[in-house]
């Protein structure tokens, strides 16, 4: 669903959805689709981002120093990093605020982390991250996580600081391109353009594993509480800006939740569930946004053994938010339900292939309309040149326009279906 700001062409969209009135124009700011950014606010402008030079330097380093490029251990301090550069081409529509119908390279990610084990059960570390995704992100470096981790024993540990949020199979790791076969994770569950709000929290976690006996496996748990913020470079902030809500300070709110995953007696099979509660409040000179505490459950299972990987997940994201712009109070209600099923197979040491189907609908609206659903069939391949350098290619067959589309990069409206080709190269150590 697209959030439309002032000046949007309200003619009948080509996908057949109804023309939107003022209320509908301001819907969905808090979730999924963003209203487009005015062209003057766009970033990148189609030029190669400056971080490409960092990527090229690291690429040169790995090519010339292959054997010596590894985690640098300086008397206990360990450094790891990754860089990736992506390309996206779409047959119809422009995706994720990129001019993907012409082919776009506005897709770069980089991170570096430093950690040290101060004692057998005490570890500290920090990870810095930057990304450019179309008009989102930017050149500023952010703290991805920064924490102290005290592991009392294998049953109980504590992390505090800025901590990645464990939810579903991939929430905490969704931006680590190097560990996945996929270039894009199922967007119904892990929206790349809105990840900053869900990715981490400032607060504390308790975690551990509880053995259930030889024939019953192990139960792993995480519980957390803290504060989550929406990064000023995130898609949500861009959405508000187009409506006249210019936020100069981050939005945020309290969050708490947990994850339970059962490592079953069947080796490689894990079944689990997560629940996250989040609230959002933000005030801008011309208005405000309020989302009361909202429960987001996830149910998942995965099987990983040698060459085979299978996984499935179901998530529900109900939203009942209120936007106030000048004196107008606009309710926004959405009931996002998504699921995916994926599988992959390692053909040989260097090659992995796979496929997934992702399904998202907004149950609070007419799900037969393309603007209220997104169904994506994906095929992917990955080649590892060596343990540090890899390449990926991926094809998407996308039906529906509920996710990832912005009206400023699609001024002529949206076609209901689109095919996309994406590619990435990455380096990590």
């Amino acid at each position: 669903m697209i959030v439309e700001g002032p000046g949007y062409d309200s003619d009948q969209p080509p996908d057949g959805s109804k023309p939107k009135d003022l209320t509908h124009r301001c819907k969905a700011v808090l979730h999924r689709k963003a209203p487009p950014i005015h062209s003057g606010q766009g970033r990148g402008g189609g030029s190669v981002p400056g971080c490409m030079y960092l990527f090229l330097f690291l690429f040169f380093l790995v090519c010339t120093c292959r054997e010596s490029v590894c985690a640098q251990d300086l008397n206990g301090i360990v450094v790891h990093a990754y860089v990736s550069q992506g390309f996206l081409f779409s047959s119809n529509n422009n995706y994720l605020s990129m001019k993907s119908s012409d082919g776009s390279l506005q897709w770069t990610d980089a991170a570096v982390n430093i950690s040290d084990s101060l004692a057998d059960n005490l570890r500290v570390g920090i990870q810095l991250h930057m990304y450019q995704l179309g008009e989102f992100g930017g050149s500023n470096v952010q703290v991805d996580w920064a924490l102290g981790d005290y592991r009392v024993n294998d049953n109980f540990g504590i992390r505090a600081g800025k901590v990645k949020t464990v939810w579903g199979l991939f929430n905490d790791s969704q931006d680590i391109d190097a560990v996945f076969l996929w270039i894009l994770l199922p967007q119904g569950s892990y929206s790349i353009d809105h990840k900053s709000f869900y990715l981490a929290h400032i607060g504390g976690d308790v975690y551990g594993g509880l053995p259930l006996g030889k024939k019953a496996g192990t139960l792993h748990y995480v519980g957390y509480a803290g504060q989550a913020t929406v990064d000023l470079n995130d898609g949500y902030i861009k959405q508000f800006a187009n409506l006249g809500l210019i936020f100069t300070s981050s939005l945020g709110g309290k969050t708490y939740g947990g994850d339970l995953r059962w490592e079953t007696p069947v080796q490689g099979l894990t079944i689990g569930s997560s629940a996250d509660v989040q609230a959002v409040d933000g005030t801008a000179p011309t208005g405000s946004v309020h989302l009361p505490p909202t429960l987001t459950p996830s149910f998942y299972a995965q099987f990983s053994r040698r060459k085979v990987y299978l996984a499935g997940e179901y998530d529900r994201i109900p939203i009942n938010a209120t936007l106030t712009i000048e004196s107008t109070v606009i309710p926004f209600v959405e009931d996002g339900r998504s699921w995916f099923a994926m599988g992959s197979y390692r053909l040989c040491k260097n090659v992995q292939v796979g496929s997934y189907y992702s399904h998202y609908v907004n149950k609070a609206a007419d799900t037969t309309q393309p603007a209220n659903h997104s169904k994506d069939f994906v095929v992917s391949g990955r080649y590892d040149f060596n343990p540090y350098f890899y390449a990926k290619i991926e094809g998407h067959f996308l039906h529906g326009t509920a996710l990832g589309y912005y009206s400023d990069t699609n001024p002529n409206g949206l076609a209901p279906d689109s095919k996309m080709l994406s590619a990435k190269i990455g380096f990590t150590f």
Binding site: L147, V163, K307
Partner: protein, 142 residues
């Protein structure tokens, strides 16, 4: 025809014995400070995937690995149940989410054995050890 059948059977038999022999081609080595003399397959796997940090007696375990090679592949296949690529990805996920620190990896068995000998709580593997190596052997039990 008879000769061909015999040849096929001989080949299959040798493959089977070769697979069984490969499982025995890895020995578990630990620092001499480690008090246990045997470790269950479940504990071994849990230590090397990061879900356990202690031996059964409660002492701290420091897993170390090889960067590659036959011993590394055999160890991962038979004791961890993963191939080297999945093992590496899984640890990278822990490292880049702040949830763990990657085990030290060594390019040679001699370097691994030397580190295990010098590091209290260290646990690793190799294709063989010599009488000069100052480490102890652990037996893996089900």
């Amino acid at each position: 025809m008879k000769k061909a059948r015999c040849l096929v059977l001989l080949l299959l038999g040798s493959l089977g014995s070769w697979s069984a022999a490969r499982a025995q081609d890895v020995v578990l080595v630990a620092n001499k400070s480690v008090k246990i003399s045997e470790i269950t397959n479940a504990d071994l796997r849990a230590i090397f995937i990061g879900t356990k940090t202690r031996f059964a007696d409660g002492s701290h375990a420091v897993p170390v690995t090889l960067k590659g090679g036959p011993a590394h592949e055999v160890f991962l296949k038979h004791y961890v149940g993963e191939n080297p690529e999945e093992f590496r990805s899984q640890w990278r996920k822990l490292v880049f989410t702040g949830q763990g620190a990657m085990p030290r990896a060594f390019g040679s068995e001699s370097a691994l054995i030397e580190y295990v000998a010098d590091t209290p709580g260290a646990l690793g593997y190799a294709s063989r050890i010599s009488s000069h190596d100052n480490v102890k052997l652990l037996a893996a039990v089900k």
